[in-house]
Assembly symmetry: C2
Homo-oligomer: 459 residues x 2
Amino acid sequence: MSGYGFRVFFVLLLLQPLYVFASAESQNQAIDSNTKTLIETATLLREQGLQSDRAWSLVEALTTQVGPRLAGTEANERAVAWAKSVLEKGGFDRVWLEPIAFPIWLRHQEKARVIGDYAQPLAITALGYSGSTEGEIKGEVVRFENLQQFEKASKAAVKNKIVFVNQTTARAKDGSGYGNSVPLRYKGSIVAKEKGAAALLIRSLGTSHHRFPHTGATTRIESPVPAAALSNPDADQLVRLLALGKPIYVALDISVSIQKQGKSFNVIAQIDGASEPEKIILMGAHLDSWDLGTGAIDDGAGVGITVAAAELIASQVKRPKRSIRLVLFGNEEQGLWGAKQYVEAHKDEMANHVYASESDFGAGKVWRFDVEDTAVQVLIMPLLSPLGIDVGVEPPTSGGPDIKPLKKAGVNVFRLKQDGTDYFDFHHTADDTLDKVDPEGLKQNVAAWAVVMYMLANR
Amino acid sequence: MSGYGFRVFFVLLLLQPLYVFASAESQNQAIDSNTKTLIETATLLREQGLQSDRAWSLVEALTTQVGPRLAGTEANERAVAWAKSVLEKGGFDRVWLEPIAFPIWLRHQEKARVIGDYAQPLAITALGYSGSTEGEIKGEVVRFENLQQFEKASKAAVKNKIVFVNQTTARAKDGSGYGNSVPLRYKGSIVAKEKGAAALLIRSLGTSHHRFPHTGATTRIESPVPAAALSNPDADQLVRLLALGKPIYVALDISVSIQKQGKSFNVIAQIDGASEPEKIILMGAHLDSWDLGTGAIDDGAGVGITVAAAELIASQVKRPKRSIRLVLFGNEEQGLWGAKQYVEAHKDEMANHVYASESDFGAGKVWRFDVEDTAVQVLIMPLLSPLGIDVGVEPPTSGGPDIKPLKKAGVNVFRLKQDGTDYFDFHHTADDTLDKVDPEGLKQNVAAWAVVMYMLANR
């Protein structure tokens, strides 16, 4: 038994009460020689991951050389070329592009100012699929505390007004604060249009107290009203101004456009399985980003983590049993266009997708392995525990944004749930830049991904 | 002896080794009954200051109702009217306005982008008195590490280039990091013009790793080159891009203008001295702000602190011996215009200005009382020590930005030096908003200012 194998075996012994092994005897039977070899290799991959700067180098390169890369833009073309070039040198058995098409929503100008006695600018950013104001519009501000209160409002209370919804986003390790507030962004512009609002302003769906408004897609509808987010300090300011007791009027100048013929690619690399090549374990991240920051935590980090982890596995002489497919989805931000078109293009092999997951939650350390299959838990958790990772299934995971269409198509999913305590300080803002990425967090993620992918592809 | 008096007396006894009292006997002689009464009252003022939300209310009102208030703008007129109204209700013996005139530098547009293979936007803000680009200009970036290196560069190395000076600003409690880097801003545009640079980009003179470029005045010269600051993350990005080894070209579009006939006011309130009314102890703050944030730490905090402290003293039935004059300077940011014109307008009574100081360093707690006169130290330090304040004279204090012209005219100055560890995270950026003000810090500042002003006006 090698040093690695011995360490892993020892860890398994220590952890066995957690995983309901009946006895040392049955455990010894469970760990047959194949499994021992797998565990040795996975342990090696984990230790290599923990030592590797590769993910950082990738995030640095993508965010520096390309920067913001909204799907369908010239910068996004450069991101695709960059990713293809990286993957072609990454030791994979095949690398290919799959074209995707979508409408591109483009931001041109976004200005807001309080007018009248308290005249002053407000920091806003338009939400994806917002309408334009077609020049400056002015309206009285009417405030609601959250989406539910806005939905209950009478049309008379809203018509021709600039609606301000002051819903806050709570800081949470698991991102549940954003989960709770994001329906406001998706549905707010629908409600605003139904009730005849002149425009919609929402408090940013972020946890930063810095003055960065937070973008993100609303639901794409015909003739949408102008919709934008105020930074948290600006939302606070509007609350204070409204509390002064006089009507508050705001002028908005939002100019956006839609190009119907947007194109990009899902960039895909594969390690072909040795004995069951048709069986696919899919790992993903998304290559596109919003236009405001350089897409470092969202999702440069995920690109760096998954590419680095896949490269580690590809560097092994022996191929895994099943294929490992890395998909860098081409358009997540504007509505999962890359993922939906992946499922459509691969519908005939959907049943061969054994597992799928995405890294799209920054560079925070993984703290939980979400997977429902207890056999998978028992096999893999001893390898993840030394990384500080626990196991869980509640609430059931989506596998990540781009994995939702795969899950809907029946694919099993897992998630390496990351610590998102500060993720929504930066996510979808101009402040999403390389310095917000934790290099140590990246390493731990790479280690965890390498372990899970290797074990799922070989068990 | 009242409870307050006893406490103060006890504190004096405890602190006496610090202040070189020869013996308990001489101390008893030093603390005559007048001094005891003064100390009792000053202690009362201190305790009232520590309990008071008044400074917060003032900062909140000014930054909410007015917001950014660049001298000479409509918003600045509202700030003057607000301050006059506040002071007229503040219990002062007289409140008046003194007109000041200056050129107004106005920001209209500021855009920067890397062009070519690594095309991407950069977050910049124009520096005060920057020139315009008159449409978009493009140039190759040439990097220098600091002002000194830039000054030594040959004209050939700089001519028609976009100069990037990458000088960093260190975080420091006493603001010395900014003190070290600010000559770059003052002199950089002079050097850039002399050497024929197309434009100047400097790393922001700030300590924030958030994406806020940091404005501030350069030296006003004829036909200045366009000059702007990159946010720290954008300066990092430019460093990384230059490290890729290819020439980097940047396009700049900066539109600014100068209005020659700017007007505003120094807003002044006075508590008339009872026995020596012609003798003036001057306390100041500045009412104007830069245009990017709402001027909360710079210098809404100083306005709140000094007004609240002066109001406390004005609320006493008995007037101090000497006059206390509160000056809210009308234009500090664009070049101490308010202070210079105050000195000019009051040159005949300069000799009657006994002491002067300004609060213009945010809301951080005071940690040192900078004053050279040891008799003043001995008298006042026992009252400040319970606030966690030490005494110091090195390096000699300017008294604050707007006090420099008074010091130059021969007036004694002191400073209540504040903890500025995080001041340059927000100073001169869009992120200088109310939420960055520490309410507890404000209270401690009010207490310290009330003590010092009261004692200096009465000793």
